[in-house]
Subunit: 417 residues, 2 copies
């Protein structure tokens, strides 16, 4: 080829090199527990108390001494005297002695002397006494102190992305504040053809101009990935202006993504600006769409240089930005929804290039089908709204045949036709 | 059974009846596009402009009249005069005439007269002229006006949960604000055994008390489901106090969830309060954990009555609250990450009860295994942090055998051992 990239770097190689050069860690901040959802935990959490803090009933019934129930049957029940009631937050303050029982609700502390709970189903109370219909072993239907979390135990590892139940576990440990990594992401757009949506509201853009849609996709991706994301605005296609914008962004953010100005043959002011400040820079990736995407490291921080075309930028985010965030916080990739289905027609892709094909996955008569969407360019964002899944064709394949079963990543629910 | 629920309602039946009684719609508000991430679109979006708004180059190269390239080969190239350059936002203002070409960058408007793009790879420019090495058809490497979105087309359906690329598509249409359903969720906790984490910070709870962890799990689940969620505080185990709290919540929120006070045999003040105001109320669900969970409808709005035990509450949220939100906004369930693996030991569950078993899924020597976690009660939240997946055992099974292949829902990444 006379112009364009002289050679393309395989995606895995580009990512591995890029990640190995990253040394920045985002700041650690303590936030109230309720604000930690979706954030990355900044240190290992070791239980410093037992949860539950006492033995408690795991079922509604009667707290008893298990030894008293020996030999009980439905025809020959053991009869115990009911000496009190216990509820959660309303413990029975006395002691359960030989021949005695306490009616107990799930969650209530097990009274002193008792060591098991007989469920209502195996008992019947009549006039101050309860018939027990079966023998129960020690700790039957008892949640032991420390059973949920025991003191000294590693509860959650640093880098864990906090889900709703994790917050519950941290609350159980008495933590009202939690240390998280505050990942601050900045997005800078370039492209003299761009106009902001706020300036065209309701109408069509001026002749020759297109709306900057990529910024919204990127800000959304950063937020979904657990980062705070801020849009820093549209910078002219000018190397010096872009360099200044990058330097400003790098001083206050943990990861910076640019869009536009990365192409070969077209406007490449972003590329030149990044080149002039980068300690490491890989670009020209063997990925379709998204060949012009690149990733740089400046002072240990990641700078993701993305195509101005929205679909190419989304692919570049997945390849470089998400792994960079996980590397910085010590996080692990989240599981993705996938489905297997039969291709409705052949899909042809170039060898030695990883292709992200947009597809429509649907169920028909109980069987899943995958239909490739026709695409001409990397700008056709509607393939992500018309389609509902991505088929990643690896470098060592030239596509898949009609009728072949493939696994796709669902970005929206499966359609039913 | 002498106490407890007289009969249990199958989960599907309970949910279907509950949903059929819901008539409330959350308010529709217009928010700036950047704030719409993860919200539910409140109306169908029809394109009122073409995207792209003009024909443009889909590749870097030369804009030509396709007819001029007829018969071109590498040995016998067609030679065209280069009359200008076009970039995105920098259109070529003239007309491409017979024998002429314009160098063009991806995204630039196709100049008048030209109808195709010859990529750099198939051309070579020398001194003001370009050699073309192959014939190209009309619209070769041209993104046609309206190719991405065409005027009048249904772009996104009401009820769609907005993902990052959806925001990009809406921006392309010139929408700087977007109508979404604002789903306001309230959580009320009850339980005299509870103490708030803010009151025990750092230490263990007072004797007989446990920290209210369920509130954090629920608020987190509501937020992950696209709702605003507010915690309204701890209400004493008192029917009248709970009724007043419910009525206040129902006046300002679209969905209300309570925790605690729903059991049979234990404290049931919440149950009584809900009963006294509900138009519809189902409780006692054939689900484990989460039998005491229930769902009510008050003035068309959903009230989810959940167990105070965190894992039971999480299960109840999935059974009642998430479908209620989707019903109110016309949304569709999101795809869940799943994996198939081999059970490492038998799991036994009761017939006619749907069991949500917490499991650990891991990869060993390239094969996926599923290990059931030992659980005694519905309060053991750590099973959701120790485990990484849920195995739902349906009502018509009494479990699965060791060695059987099962599909589980991943709530965290697969472990590698």
């Amino acid at each position: 080829m006379s112009r364009g990239f002289k050679s393309l770097t395989p995606a895995d190689k580009a990512v591995a090199e890029f990640l190995s050069k990253l040394s920045h860690k985002p700041p650690v901040v303590e936030v109230p527990l309720g604000e930690a959802l979706g954030r990355y935990l900044a240190r290992d959490i070791i239980a410093d108390v037992d949860v539950p803090p006492f033995d408690r009933a795991a079922f509604d019934g009667y707290a008893v001494r298990s030894i008293d129930t020996l030999g009980a049957t439905r025809t020959n029940p053991v009869v115990l005297k009911v000496v009190g009631r216990a509820g959660p937050g309303r413990p029975f303050e006395g002691v359960v002695r030989e021949g005695e029982a306490v009616e107990i609700a799930t969650g209530a502390p097990l009274p002193e002397g008792a060591d098991a709970v007989v469920p209502y189903e195996e008992a019947a109370e009549r006039g101050g006494a309860v018939e027990i219909y079966r023998p129960v072993p020690r700790y039957y239907y008892v949640s032991r102190r420390g059973e949920d979390l025991s003191k000294g135990e590693l509860v959650l590892k640093a880098g864990t992305r906090l889900r709703p139940w994790d917050l519950g576990v941290l609350a159980s440990l008495g933590m009202s504040r939690v240390p998280i990594y505050l990942v601050r992401a900045a997005v800078i757009s370039t492209g003299d053809e761009l106009v902001e949506v706020e300036e065209v509201s309701g109408g069509a853009p001026p002749p020759g101009k297109v709306v900057n849609s990529t910024r919204f996709a990127l800000i959304g991706l950063f937020r979904e990935a657990g980062a705070d994301a801020e849009y820093l605005g549209l910078v002219p296609d000018d190397e010096e202006a872009i360099r200044r914008a990058l330097e400003r962004a790098l001083s206050g953010f943990d990861i910076v993504a640019t869009t536009g100005g990365a192409s070969v043959g077209g406007p490449d002011a972003t590329h030149k600006a990044v080149s002039s400040i980068a300690d490491f820079y890989v670009r020209g990736i063997a990925v379709r769409p998204g060949r012009p995407n690149g990733a740089a490291v400046v002072g240990g921080k990641p700078v993701i240089v993305l195509s101005g075309f929205p679909v190419a930028a989304v692919v570049g985010f997945e390849i470089f930005a998400r792994p960079a965030i996980l590397k910085m916080v010590g996080g692990r990739p989240e599981p993705q929804p996938t489905v297997r289905g039969v291709l409705t027609r052949r899909i042809t892709t170039p060898i030695n290039v990883r292709t992200y094909a947009r597809v429509r996955a649907y169920v028909k008569e109980g069987k899943v089908y995958v239909e490739p969407l026709a695409v001409t360019g990397s700008g056709v964002l509607s393939t992500l709204t018309r389609g509902n899944a991505i088929l990643v064709v690896p470098e060592n394949r030239e596509g898949y045949d009609e009728g072949e079963e493939v696994e796709v990543q669902l970005i929206r629910e499966l359609e039913a036709v």
